[in-house]
């Protein structure tokens, strides 16, 4: 286990090993674009994450609601947890990232990222609460909008869907406003 040390091992808050592992973002974009050709042409399933993730969340409800309760929920009845293409894509995303990290020796435990630390300090508890709340909000929003950055942002936008471009632009605007509020310069020196 390595301690994070932002001063010696990082550039602009990013780990050197991770920075060295980076590919040109345009090449990566082309790669994801080509991947979507396969997703549409062969899998007949656009790249997306949040549908499978929300189906998987039914597992968490099992202890409380029981299998009967989960089966009778209108959402999970429509999107049941099963080993479909979406779930395999979700698993693959994790495995692929893990392989890439291991090959490039850039695995590093991170509790508090540099950009967050600069604004909010090094408290792990504070960061974890924010990450948890952010996770709840992002998933609820993704399901209400009908997709996430993959399903709407990339797969939907490339089909020129009205819903997806509305999602993309609204999401970005909301994120910019949130970042303005969250990362504003402290008016009163509060720690």
């Amino acid at each position: 286990m390595k301690e994070t040390n932002y001063s010696s091992k990082t550039i602009g808050g990013t780990d050197r090993a991770e920075a060295k592992a980076r590919w040109n973002p345009y090449i990566v974009g082309i790669g994801i674009g080509v991947l979507s050709w396969i997703a549409f042409g062969v899998l007949d399933e656009p790249l997306g994450i949040s549908t499978a993730l929300s189906s998987a969340s039914s597992v968490c409800a099992l202890p409380v609601m029981g299998s009967e309760g989960v089966a009778h929920n209108a959402y999970w009845a429509k999107n049941p947890l099963k080993w479909n293409g979406g779930m395999l894509l979700l698993m693959g995303t994790f495995i692929g990232s893990l392989l890439s990290v291991l090959v490039s020796h850039s695995f590093r435990l991170e509790k508090v990222p540099a950009t967050w630390q600069k604004q909010f300090g090094g408290s792990t508890a504070k960061r974890f609460v924010a990450a948890f709340l952010g996770g709840v909000i992002i998933m609820f929003g993704a399901r209400m909008a009908g997709g996430c950055t993959s399903g709407h942002g990339i797969s939907g936008s490339l089909q020129l869907a009205l819903s997806s471009w509305t999602f993309f632009l609204t999401m970005f605007a909301s994120g910019v406003v949130t970042a303005l509020i969250l990362f504003r310069k402290p008016a009163t020196a509060s720690k």
């Binding site: 899998l43 994790f94 990222p113 797969s155 819903s163 949130t178």
Partner: protein, 190 residues
């Protein structure tokens, strides 16, 4: 008609496609909290470069596949109130979490412990939505429901016209990013 691959084989092919997706997310630098948050602060443009390139390259290819009969579209319905409210929550959640659902999953594999905490949050959010699904379907998804419309349908500008426009915007935006907005400590690739 899609390419002649059995449904069963296509389903399992989703695993290697996902693996490549995960590799690309990590190597693209977007499985990194700082990169994502700093996009929203206009200090790092990696996310924009990756996404905009993917949309144009992907879109032109899928358009050709579709018009040659090798693919079909999967359009999400434009329930405008649901999309706008959901996207507003999504943007706020993305800055707070520092990842989106896909990059969060990729980030867990890189050793980001707060990505794992947020992943648990996402599962909780999924439960919360499932529980409110019936109400949301009845009261929100029915408002300004325009169906599975595409930009060419409502504007009269044909598909290829849209890609010409998008490519022109991308060219200008990428040129501005590369020449004017290079920030020290932002985009790391040379």
């Amino acid at each position: 008609m899609n390419f002649p691959v059995s449904a069963e084989a296509a389903r399992w092919l989703a695993l290697p496609v996902g693996i490549i997706f995960g590799v690309l997310l990590h190597r693209g630098g977007v499985a990194n909290y700082n990169v994502i948050v700093n996009q929203f602060r206009f200090k790092d443009f990696t996310v924009l470069k990756v996404m905009f390139t993917a949309i144009i390259v992907g879109g032109i290819g899928v358009l050709l596949l579709k018009s040659s009969g090798h693919a079909q579209y999967h359009i999400k319905p434009a329930n405008m109130l649901g999309v706008v409210l959901g996207a507003t929550l999504f943007g706020a959640g993305m800055v707070l979490y520092g990842y989106c659902p896909g990059t969060g999953v990729a980030a867990m594999a890189t050793g980001s412990l707060h990505a794992i905490v947020g992943f648990v949050g996402m599962l909780a959010g999924g439960v919360l939505y499932a529980l409110s699904f019936t109400w949301v379907e009845a009261h929100i998804q029915t408002v300004a429901a325009m169906g599975k419309v595409r930009l060419p349908d409502i504007t009269g500008v044909p598909d290829w016209g849209w890609f010409v426009i998008l490519a022109a915007i991308a060219a200008v935006v990428f040129w501005l990013i590369e020449t004017r907005f290079r920030t020290p400590g932002g985009d790391l690739q040379t």
